[in-house]
C-alpha cells in the first residue's frame, strides 16, 4: 500500500495489484455450465507442471499455456467471449473505473468470540470469576434450543471475501500493475480476483472499457503510465490554491 495525492491535495491510500501471466483457459457455454451466463476460465500466476498429476494439467495443455497456480471463472455475455490462450493485461482496466476485488482473507486460526464476532466480553474486575472473554448467554429460555448459525468461537479467516466499488487510480502498462483505492482482502503477495464492479452506482463510471479486452498485439499503443484525471502526477509542480 502506498499513498497517492489528488490535485486538490487530498491523500488516498492505494494498493498495488500485479497482473502476472494471466491467460484465458477455456470457454464454457451457458448450456454446458447450466447457469444463466457463459463462463470464461482464466488462469493466474505461472507454476511448474511437475508437481500435479497429468489430468490436472489437461486444461492448460489444451489452451497451450504453462500450468497456472489459480483458476477463476468469470461470467461473461456472449459478445465478450475471448479465444482460449489469449493473454490478459493490466490495460484491460482503465483509470476511473470501479472494481471488485476477491481474495482469501488472512487466516487467524481458531479464535474466540471477541475477536471473531466483536462481542464485548465481561468486565476485568468487580468480582468476575473466570469470565472475561466468554460469549455469555447463547439463547433464551423460551426457544429451548440454540439456533443454527449462532455466533460462536471457531476458525477465523482463510475465506474468500470481496471488497466492492474500489476505484482504479492508475495503470502501469510496462509492469502490468493496477493501483486500486483502499485496502484489499488477503496478505501481501497473495492471489486476487479483480472484476468490473457490479454496484449500481458504479455503472456510469464503467462505460467504454476496452472491449472484449486489451490486445497487446493490436494497433493501440498505450503510454507506460495511465493516470486518472484527478491524480496529482509528480511531473507537475506543487499544488497551489487560488
Amino acid at each position: 500500500m502506498m499513498p497517492m495525492w489528488t490535485k486538490s491535495g487530498k491523500k488516498h491510500a492505494v494498493t498495488l495489484l500485479k497482473v502476472q501471466d494471466c491467460h484465458v483457459l477455456r470457454y464454457v457455454s451457458k448450456e454446458e455450465s447450466g447457469g444463466r451466463a457463459a463462463k470464461l476460465l482464466v488462469g493466474g500466476k505461472n507454476v511448474s507442471p511437475f508437481f500435479k498429476p497429468e489430468s490436472a494439467c489437461q486444461i492448460f495443455k489444451e489452451a497451450g499455456v504453462p500450468r497456472k497456480q489459480k483458476v477463476t471463472t468469470f461470467n461473461v455475455t456472449d459478445d465478450a467471449i475471448i479465444k482460449p490462450g489469449t493473454p490478459l493485461y493490466a490495460a484491460h482496466f482503465r483509470p476511473g473505473q470501479f472494481v471488485d476485488v476477491t481474495a482469501k482473507t488472512i487466516g487467524k486460526g481458531f479464535q474466540g468470540v471477541m475477536k471473531r464476532w466483536g462481542f464485548k466480553g465481561q468486565p476485568a474486575s468487580h468480582g468476575q470469576t473466570k469470565t472475561h472473554r466468554r460469549p455469555g448467554a447463547i439463547s433464551t429460555n423460551k426457544a429451548s434450543k440454540v439456533y443454527r448459525g449462532k455466533k460462536m468461537p471457531g476458525k477465523m479467516g482463510n475465506v474468500y471475501r470481496t471488497t466492492f466499488g474500489l476505484k482504479v487510480w492508475r495503470i502501469n502498462t510496462k509492469h502490468d500493475i493496477i493501483y486500486v483505492n483502499g485496502c484489499v482482502p488477503g496478505h501481501t503477495n497473495c492471489l486476487v480476483k479483480v472484476r468490473d464492479s457490479k454496484l449500481p452506482t458504479c455503472k456510469k463510471h464503467n462505460k467504454n472499457p476496452p472491449f472484449p479486452t486489451f490486445f497487446a498485439d493490436g494497433d493501440e499503443k498505450l503510454p507506460e503510465d495511465l493516470f486518472d484525471e484527478e491524480i496529482f502526477q509528480f511531473t507537475d509542480p506543487s499544488v497551489t490554491y487560488t
Partner: protein, 247 residues
C-alpha cells in the same frame, strides 16, 4: 654510484617530479541517501519499492528536497486553502524522521508564544512548496522527542531566522549539547536504557539512574536475528538514485 663502473658517465636522470595530491578532490564526495529510500525488512516484492522509488525520484527532480538530519532547523512553506496568502510557513527543529517510501514524514517542533507546537509534514506531499534548511547541526540522538520534557528555551527558534551560511563538502557539525529537563514526571522515562539518549543532562540522583539500569537488555546487541545490514542495499539504491537524478 655503481661498483665497477662502465667508464662512460651515466646519463643525467632528473629527479622525479613531485606528485601534487589535491586534498580537496580527494575528500570523498559525501554520500547521503535519504533514509526513506531504504526498504524495511519484510516479505514485500521488491518491485513495489522500485515503483515507489521511481515516483520519489520523479518528485525530487521537480522539487528540491534538501539533505537534512534530525536536529536541523527547517522552514517549510505549504499551500493552505484557508490562509491569507494561501501559503503557510512554519519554522522548527526536526525531532523525528519516520516512514519509508512515499509516505515518509518529518516532525518539526517550535515554541510559539509559550505554546509548544509540533507539525508532522509528509516529504512527498504535493502541498509542500518549499523546504529551506536554516541551521545545520546534527545532535547526539536520532530522535529528539525528549525536547517535549526539556526546558522550553531548547525548542524555541526565531520564526524570522536567517539561514546560516555554510560551505558544501564539509562534515555536518554535531552539536554535543546536553539539554536540561523540566522536573519529573516526563511523558516517557527518558533515563531508561531502551531510549539510549545521550543528549540529556540528567540531574537525577544516582539511585534513580541505577534503578533505571534494571531495564537494560544487554543481550539485544548480540541478537543476530535483529541484524539488518543495509550497506549493500544502500550502495545499489544510491547508484540508481544518482543516475536517475543526473538525467
Amino acid at each position: 654510484s655503481r661498483a665497477g663502473g662502465d667508464g662512460k658517465p651515466e646519463k643525467f636522470q632528473p629527479p622525479p617530479k613531485p606528485v601534487i595530491i589535491d586534498k580537496q578532490k580527494q575528500r570523498a564526495e559525501r554520500r547521503f541517501l535519504s533514509p526513506e529510500f531504504i526498504p524495511p525488512r519484510g516479505r514485500t516484492d521488491p518491485l513495489k519499492y522500485y515503483m515507489e522509488r521511481k515516483d520519489m525520484i520523479q518528485r525530487r527532480k521537480v522539487f528540491n528536497i534538501p539533505e537534512f538530519y534530525v536536529g536541523h532547523v527547517l522552514a517549510v512553506t505549504t499551500a493552505d486553502p484557508y490562509a491569507n496568502n494561501k501559503t503557510n510557513r512554519f519554522v522548527g527543529i526536526c525531532i523525528q524522521r519516520g516512514g519509508k517510501g512515499l509516505g515518509a514524514t518529518f516532525v518539526l517542533r517550535n515554541v510559539i508564544e509559550d505554546q509548544g507546537v509540533e507539525i508532522c509534514y509528509e516529504l512527498y506531499s504535493p502541498r509542500i512548496q518549499a523546504i529551506e534548511v536554516l541551521k545545520l547541526e546534527k545532535r547526539l540522538d536520532d530522535n529528539l522527542m525528549y525536547l517535549r520534557d526539556a526546558l522550553p528555551e531548547y525548542s524555541t527558534f526565531d520564526v524570522n531566522m536567517k539561514p546560516v551560511s555554510r560551505l558544501d563538502h564539509e562534515e555536518v557539525p554535531v552539536n554535543k549539547l546536553q539539554v536540561r529537563m523540566k522536573p519529573k514526571p516526563w511523558s516517557k522515562r527518558w533515563e531508561r536504557p531502551k531510549f539510549n539518549i545521550k543528549g540529556i543532562k540528567f540531574e537525577l540522583p544516582e539511585s534513580k539512574m541505577k534503578e533505571a539500569q534494571k531495564w537494560s537488555q544487554p543481550w539485544l546487541e548480540f541478537d543476530m536475528l535483529r541484524e539488518y545490514d543495509t550497506s549493500k542495499i544502500e550502495e545499489k539504491i544510491w547508484k540508481e538514485v544518482n543516475e536517475e537524478l543526473k538525467k
